[in-house]
């Protein structure tokens, strides 16, 4: 009876966790907010998830002179300081991908966010790293879901 219960718990837990599983290589979101509003909100949502925004990088120099009507393109870097210190030492192959980042740019009146699904980084390590990566992915899915909301 006990093993049956354990089996059912395992099955139900797997199915529950599967609900949030994500298999896309790229994670993307469109928000109807203007670029400045979306920029502010993104940083707030990232911080609310327990991360530190380390830097916002402009990637727009020369864009307008190349025929683009916008200079609204940024890359937002973020991470958990202790985690970055620990993982960058333990998994050197990961270092080039840290801090984590999200690209954000204006698309007409909307704003688009995009990042690579961190699942592709699993190759760099072991089960402990996989757990960290799964959390990054879940957080990104949450962050993007919150960004899609208008308010």
């Amino acid at each position: 009876m006990k093993s049956l219960l354990v089996g059912i718990i395992f099955l139900a837990t797997s199915l529950f966790l599967n609900q949030t599983a994500f298999a896309a290589h790229m994670l993307m979101a469109r928000t109807p907010q203007s670029f400045p509003e979306a920029m502010l909100k993104l940083q707030e949502v990232i911080r609310n998830k327990g991360y530190v925004v380390s830097r916002v990088q402009r990637v727009d120099i020369g864009l307008t002179s190349s025929g683009y009507q916008t200079d609204k393109y940024r890359v937002v870097f973020y991470g958990v300081p202790e985690e970055i210190a620990r993982l960058s030492k333990k998994y050197p192959a990961l270092i080039s991908y840290l801090p984590l980042k999200i690209s954000i740019f204006a698309e007409g009146k909307d704003t688009i966010l995009v990042t690579a699904n961190p699942q592709h980084l699993k190759k760099a390590g072991d089960a402990a790293l996989a757990r960290a990566i799964n959390k990054w992915e879940r957080d990104l899915v949450d962050i993007f879901a919150e960004m899609r909301e208008e308010e």
Binding site: M28, S54, T70, G79, P92, I95
Partner: protein
């Protein structure tokens, strides 16, 4: 463990598990999550085709949409969503159909017979300008990026394996005959083609199947995550060598910072993990035109680190990252970027 809480736990999980409860998938929610970034919240297009365009909806059947969502367009940005359940894909299609009231067409899978050789001539005359001589389609992603553009959509690749699987001959014929109002695709009939001509063009387009353009055969998953070099120089000298090499490759050094800068209190960063950021603006604009998502690569960066007395240079492997984008044009650019990184890192460690 008391039995009652276990049962309560199971009940809660069973309630929340979609696989067991079989709650109907929410098409709108799924669309917003997976499609809206490219196609727009209301299907007005952007990176992707404007799905809400009445002429588009009038010329495609549900099966075309289902197959397109499932298979995507290999190498043409649109990814396949084969990880979605069949009912989830159908829910997305149902949602897409809510934007237009007209009843969608239904097409059989029957092949249309036509003269391929003649179709090829007609195709060259009427279709090549937009769709390419070999059906390769227009260039770029179609994202406006707030940039003025001449066309509301990028001409689709007709030789793409995803398109050829999803589109029936009848669908292609109807599109040719009626055109797509709101796009540059004109009606073949208005251009003076007869039904026989159209059948010949359909037969020619179908013949692309014999040599359809798949995604690049680059096995990106087999590529290492990073490029790594060991430096024979001291940590500080290696940083200087990297900067010199970057400038030597016509890039501009835009920033040097410690990996932990901005994350920990100033002065407490690991001093032996330093990133050198650099950029070539012409290359940047080229890359953004090919795929606006390349911000993920940017700015270009080499990280210099010292561990156990060894100085190393590491960088992302552009060929590995490129595979995530499903964009053949970007793959080519990334192969060039891989060579550039190689030259910079070799030069810095010589």
């Amino acid at each position: 463990m008391p039995r009652q809480p276990i049962y309560a736990y199971i009940l809660v999980l069973l309630f929340l598990s979609p696989g067991l409860v079989h709650a109907a998938p929410n098409g709108q929610q799924l669309y917003l999550q997976h499609c809206a970034a490219c196609h727009g919240n209301e299907g007005n297009g952007g990176v992707g085709v404007p799905l809400a365009l009445p002429a588009f909806q009038a010329s495609v059947d549900d099966q075309f949409l289902v197959d397109t969502v499932r298979l995507g367009r290999p190498g043409r940005v649109m990814p396949g969503f084969s990880f979605l359940k069949q009912q989830e894909i159908h829910a997305i299609v149902t949602h897409i159909r809510t934007w237009v009231t007209a009843t969608p067409p239904e097409f059989g899978k029957a092949r249309i017979k036509g003269d391929i050789k003649r179709g090829k001539q007609l195709y060259a005359q009427h279709c090549t300008a937009c769709h390419g001589a070999n059906g390769e389609g227009g260039h770029g992603t179609g994202v406006t990026f707030s940039r003025p553009r001449d066309l509301p959509i990028i001409a689709p690749s007709l030789s793409n394996s995803g398109f050829l699987t999803a589109a029936s001959d009848q669908l292609i014929k109807k599109t040719l005959i009626e055109g797509r109002k709101g796009t540059p695709m004109l009606s073949a009939v208005e251009r003076g083609l007869t039904e026989k001509d159209v059948d010949d063009v359909v037969a020619f387009v179908r013949s692309f199947e014999d040599h359809s353009i798949p995604a690049d055969h680059l096995d990106f998953a087999a590529e290492p995550l990073t490029m790594e070099y060991e430096s024979p120089f001291s940590f500080d000298k290696t940083i200087e060598k990297v900067k010199q090499a970057v400038i030597g490759m016509n890039f501009r050094v835009i920033r040097e910072q410690k990996l932990e800068e901005g994350l920990v209190e100033q002065g407490k960063e690991n001093p032996k993990q330093v990133m050198v950021y650099f950029c070539n603006f012409q290359l940047l604009n080229e890359a953004l035109a090919v795929d606006p998502r390349v911000g993920l690569f940017l700015p270009c960066r080499v990280t210099i680190l010292e561990e156990k007395g060894k100085v190393k240079l590491v960088a992302i492997n552009p060929k590995r990252l490129s595979g995530l984008f499903n964009n053949n044009e970007l793959n080519k650019l990334c192969e060039g970027m891989y060579e550039t990184y190689t030259e910079i890192m070799e030069e810095a460690t010589l």
